[in-house]
Amino acid sequence: MDTLVDNRAEIWEGFRLTLWLLLTSGVLATLLGTVLGSFRVSPVPTLRWIGTSYVNVFRNTPLVIILVMSAAFWPTLGFNDVGFFGYNTFVTFAILGLGLYTAAFVCEAVRSGINSVATGQAEAARSVGMTFAQSLRLVVLPQALRAVIPPLTSIYIALAKNTSITAIVGVPEAAYVMRRLSNKFTSDVYAIFFGIAAGYVVLVLVLSVLLRLAERRLAVAR
């Protein structure tokens, strides 16, 4: 127990970074995933193909590989010093890796959300002369985004837990702190594990409560 109290500053820093990773890569994944999801239902075959390939590649690759490759890949494209918000370049590479990986799952959720919107809606939009882009933006997506919140909740929860994997590429977030402390204070492994695990449980609970509130607020009578 003392180990947790003595190292609370380091643990707090770890969870702050976990939250930052969750927020930034969550935004990136949502934006990219929505674009890719629209690609997958587009009338243009190439766009559909791009969306499908993206999902098949990123969803079937272990996140560790994506993170390690991300750290090696961006510097070769010339991104050498892209840290922001007080965190270094490697945090940015981790954010990009997490975001690219999670976007594949968001894409699938958005696609199934679009498919869940009643056919009559898109037909009505077309019958008043809207183009594909208009009917998607003005009629289908606003309804789809509501249907998409429950699956997005599980995706964000998975993302919150996945931020821990960045520990493998040396990002000092909560799981990294846990590993470091377990190595240093071997007699206190139980307190360290249950302490940090409790942090994640709280994070997951808060996230699911917030998203359920959002779901209820946005809900409309169908």
Binding site: V41, P43, T46, N60, L63, V68, A122, I168, A175
Partner: protein, 285 residues
Amino acid sequence: MTAALFDVPGPQSRRRAAIGTIVAAVLAAALVGLVGWKLYREGEFEAELWQDLGQPNIARAVWLGLVSTLSAAAVAIVLSVIFGAVLAIARLSDHRVLRIPAAIVVEFFRAVPLLLLIVFVFFGFNNLFSDYWSLVLALMLYNGSVLAEVFRAGINAVPRGQSEAAYSVGMLKSQVMSSILLPQAVAIMLPAIISQCVVVLKDTALGVIIAYGDLVFQANLIAEFVDHTIVPLALAALIFIVINYALSRLAVWLEARFARRGRTSAGAARPTDMQLAPTAGGAGD
């Protein structure tokens, strides 16, 4: 279903789609080409690298890694199914003594990142578990808890008339579960179990945190040896993509097969949350 979003194309929209196809293809090709050119300029594809990668000891390392990954994943998935079934039955029990602890176990292990579990099992028991067993047990705890929820939903999805009929002919609770509910539920849940295999396979890669010699670990070693990261790891990723893609196709095929037999009622058997759990895992999960 996507066809609802656009009409059967007439001449004008066919032209527009053709232009869109070309523009998108050119842009995608330009992006891939630019990245490829940059990597080439940085010497990621030089002949020496391929020569190094062609050495027999590299092939042996990849094979060793693949065997380690597959053996950990196979044992983990079998143990997860058993652990998940036990938890699911405990959670469906009429006795609170079983139901509540099972619920706590399931919710706890689903909320804790797998990486923490692996580190904990490895360091927490005085070196009782080797790197292999630490990984397998952690995978079992996490995926077993996820599967427990899948099983619970699957058992609940068997029409109520089935268990009512079984009770009415005088079967015991254990008999109803083992000979009426489980056999039917397994057919409904098989696709979800296969999808979970994809998650398990991907998650074995987390063994690198305790230096378990799986495919990703070997790929990292090879990357250090040849002094290039991108190509060796991309090749490792390719192996994962092939295996996982085959598994997902198998899950889709099984689902279609059971749907045709009318075992699942138009997908109603699988709540959305459950459909997403396997994919979001590793995702995630």
